[in-house]
Symmetry: C2
Subunit: 196 residues, 2 copies
């Protein structure tokens, strides 16, 4: 259990770095937005990632404290169960980050920022799969009714309508490891609105 939590801590730590890199790319895009729609669009993604940064900044020290205290990691400890709920929220945060990166790739394709964003995207896709495995391991090890219901994306909900899901974010690691085919649809990006 300790090793699995250490893995979760490493994933969230590098995702906090990654989102900061992404924010730095977004800042000039917000500043130079051509119209209110484009500005709101990038502002909104930026703000959600900033919110995630604030949450991770609060969570990571608690996680480190927990890792340093073997007695903390007990199913009898309510604080530990709350920590697991916070972690399950960040599983969803990773999924959202993946979609933010994919959305931004439609805009930044062919620009100097594409390789950096693509690298963040691939790292995040792998980390999301690792995070899912880690939570399954913790669930199995604890065997307690910690509710992770609010940490399952639309893509992975069995009871949800199929046409609302996207294949590249579905449950299987193989599918989510590949980026959506953006192809040559450069003219269809949100960013291209500013040229109209």
């Amino acid at each position: 259990m300790h090793d699995t939590l250490a893995e979760v801590s490493a994933i969230l730590g590098r995702s906090k770095e990654a989102l900061s890199q992404f924010q730095a790319i977004l800042e000039p895009t917000i500043e130079q937005a051509a119209d209110d729609h484009e500005r709101l669009y990038w502002h909104h993604i930026y703000e959600e990632e900033e919110h995630r940064f604030d949450r991770l900044a609060a969570l990571l020290p608690k996680l480190e404290e927990a890792l340093a205290d073997e007695a903390f990691l007990s199913r009898e400890n309510g604080d530990f169960l709350r920590l697991l709920q916070d972690i399950s929220l960040e599983k969803f945060g990773l999924h959202n980050f993946l979609e933010h990166l994919d959305l931004s790739l439609f805009h930044y394709k062919g620009t100097e920022h594409e390789p950096a964003i693509a690298a963040l995207r691939d790292m995040t896709a792998a980390d999301y799969q690792q995070m899912k495995s880690a939570l399954e391991t913790l669930n199995g090890a604890l065997d307690v009714p910690v509710s992770f219901a609010a940490a399952t994306p639309t893509d992975e909900k069995e009871e949800q309508k199929e046409y609302l899901k996207l294949a590249q974010y579905a449950a299987t690691p193989a599918a989510s490891a590949s980026r959506p085919a953006i192809g040559t649809k450069r003219q269809l990006t949100v960013g291209s609105l500013k040229n109209k």
Copy 2:
């Protein structure tokens, strides 16, 4: 304190209804999306609101339980402080919903759905202001170091760069009460991409 929490419960209850109405409007838009970019865009907003629905479905019964037990509402009660943290997360959720509605208005302007979305938008803008006041009241009444740091949007962060903020979501109720001027820029919407 009890009345303020009852107010919070009412706000979150009607926002849960509101987001379901919004999801119903989005579903055919996702199904009929003209390309991968548009599908990912609406899917992403839909999924974030669905996540909010799941969180509210877990939080609201806890809030009702707390309201029925006067002894629960004590600064000495760790569970109560955690409940307040969950509520502060939903303050951010309301802010995000407001931005989702504004983003969607660029797409649905001039359609049969505009009046419904505009009504949800205006209700949410007013509720967000009421939620901020409620949290300030609770903070003042409790005088405990409950961290609400991770519940402040970019728009309201004093230390944040000005060009990353949007005036219509800034701290003053008067400004945020009005929708952004969408005007006649119909041709600049994300939705209009499918006609290109």
